[in-house]
């Protein structure tokens, strides 16, 4: 069975001023799968994630070397429209960040920004996105109410709905469940499992059990380098590199 590759990264190195956060990282992210990035604090996994949608550009003094190919095209190329890239490759952050607007306006924000007009079109899009994010039933009677009134777990799903509304291809998630309680986390993981049928998901997580539960592939980062990348089941039962073994069995950090 041929596995399509969504991202192909070759020799990626990222520095913030003089500090090299990533060194010579090369790997492939398969399409329609969940790839988890694990590693101790400061190992570069979040930096790597932010490179995939060029959110690193917002950081002062960030330098990027190497190639990051999305469907075969280098996203750091000269002619690349960053706004369009971020439409295709969306991001969910650690703490939910809905805008101070109504639920409806939050979800409609992305489409409106990209030029979608028409009440009927937007209504349909909002409903579809909220359904995909497993939030529709909980908010359908209060679309006009402030988004900030929702609970943490609902806000995180709202943020995902907002993301889905722009119809991306890739979902990047930076520790999306770290501020949620177990039930919300379970719902979120269920959602991720469903989403991978349509999207490619890359998720950074500190929670090894979560990575084990929801990902197909897991990549272990340490000190800015990629140490091991393998099928999740294999990596968590018989890792190849001793450093991977030591990390996941808790024998260091």
């Amino acid at each position: 069975m041929v596995q399509t590759i969504k991202f192909s990264i070759d020799g990626l190195s990222v520095a913030y001023h003089d500090f090299w956060a990533l060194s010579e990282v090369s790997l492939e992210i398969p399409a329609h799968r969940v790839t988890a990035l694990i590693g101790p604090s400061g190992c570069g996994k979040s930096t790597f994630l932010k490179t995939l949608n060029r959110m690193n550009d917002l950081v002062d003094g960030a330098k990027v070397k190497g190639a990051v190919l999305l469907d075969g095209q280098d996203i750091y190329g000269r002619e690349v429209d960053v706004a369009r890239l971020r439409k295709r490759v969306g991001m969910v952050f650690q703490r939910p960040n809905p805008f101070p607007m109504s639920v409806y306006d939050n979800v409609a924000y992305g489409p409106r920004v990209h030029g979608t007009r028409g009440r009927a079109t937007l209504d349909a899009l909002v409903e579809r996105s909220l359904r995909s994010a497993a939030l529709w039933d909980e908010v359908k009677d209060r679309l006009g109410r402030p988004a900030l009134d929702l609970s943490g777990g609902q806000q995180q799903r709202l943020v995902i709905a907002r993301l889905l509304a722009v119809e991306p291809e890739v979902l990047l998630m930076d520790e999306p469940a770290s501020s949620l309680d177990p039930i919300s986390t379970a719902k979120l993981e269920e959602l991720i499992h469903r989403l991978k049928q349509q999207y490619t998901v890359v998720i950074v997580t500190h929670n090894l059990q979560q990575a084990a539960r929801i990902s197909d592939y897991t990549a272990f980062f340490l000190g800015g380098r990629l140490i091991e990348l393998d099928g999740t089941a294999k990596l968590f039962t018989t890792p190849v590199d001793k450093r991977t073994e030591d990390y996941i069995t808790g024998r260091f950090g």
Binding site: L208, Q209, A212, F236, T237, T238, P239, T244, E245, I248, T249, G250, R251
Partner: protein
């Protein structure tokens, strides 16, 4: 529980397995001894001792499951606990075989044996040796020792076939020996199974260390 306390628990789990292994080994030795010496008290002791062995199995299983739930172990630690669960099953079965041998000893007590028991004690000795080796290999993670169990198993199998043929001849020549010979045949079969279980232990050790499942009985 902190990570280091977890490692201490793993060590204690291993110790419990070794203790159970020792109990089981003594049971086999005691049962065969009782058979050879026709010692009823010894046989009864083995039968009574089985409760203790079953207790240990439950205790080790309980501990293992608790560790799985609370610690969510991965990689080597996970394989270690998985192996522990499989090993105690094999050990407990060996214990049951010892009890069965002891019961046969009770049944044959007071009878004169149709022939002096030579091969059966030899099989027992080999099987016990295999059990000891498998547990040693387990503690020291000695893959070579575990590999060696395959050959030992072949030897035990050959011995078993030999005993089988001999007893068959006896039964054909003199139908009055059939009852005793059949019981002795069962004893040999139990010992052959003990050797198989010991080999299983070796296979699980190989999995624990390398992550590969290998068939040593082939």
């Amino acid at each position: 529980m902190s990570r280091s306390a977890f490692h201490v628990e793993l060590q204690e789990l291993q110790n419990a397995i070794l203790k159970m292994g020792a109990l089981v080994e003594n049971a086999i030795a005691g049962a065969v001894q009782a058979l050879v010496k026709q010692d009823n008290r010894a046989a009864q002791a083995v039968i009574n001792g089985d409760d203790g062995i079953d207790q240990m199995q439950l205790e080790i299983e309980g501990r293992s499951l608790r560790l799985l739930a609370l610690q969510q172990p991965l990689a080597k630690d996970l394989r270690f606990i998985g192996t522990a669960l499989k090993i105690v099953t094999d050990l407990e079965r060996i214990g049951d075989h010892a009890v069965d041998i002891a019961r046969i000893a009770l049944r044959l007590a007071g009878e004169a044996y149709i022939k002096p028991l030579i091969d059966i004690p030899r099989m027992a000795e080999l099987a016990r040796g295999m059990l000891r080796d498998s547990l040693t290999a387990y503690v020291h993670e000695d893959l070579e020792l575990a590999q060696g169990l395959a050959d030992a198993d072949h030897t035990v199998d050959s011995l078993y076939h030999q005993v089988f043929r001999e007893l068959l001849v006896f039964m054909m020549e003199d139908p009055r020996t059939i009852r005793q010979a059949t019981h002795l045949l069962f004893v040999a079969q139990h010992l052959e199974r003990v050797a198989d279980h010991a080999t299983n232990l070796g296979e699980w050790l190989i999995y624990m260390v390398t992550g590969q499942r290998k068939d040593l009985n082939a």
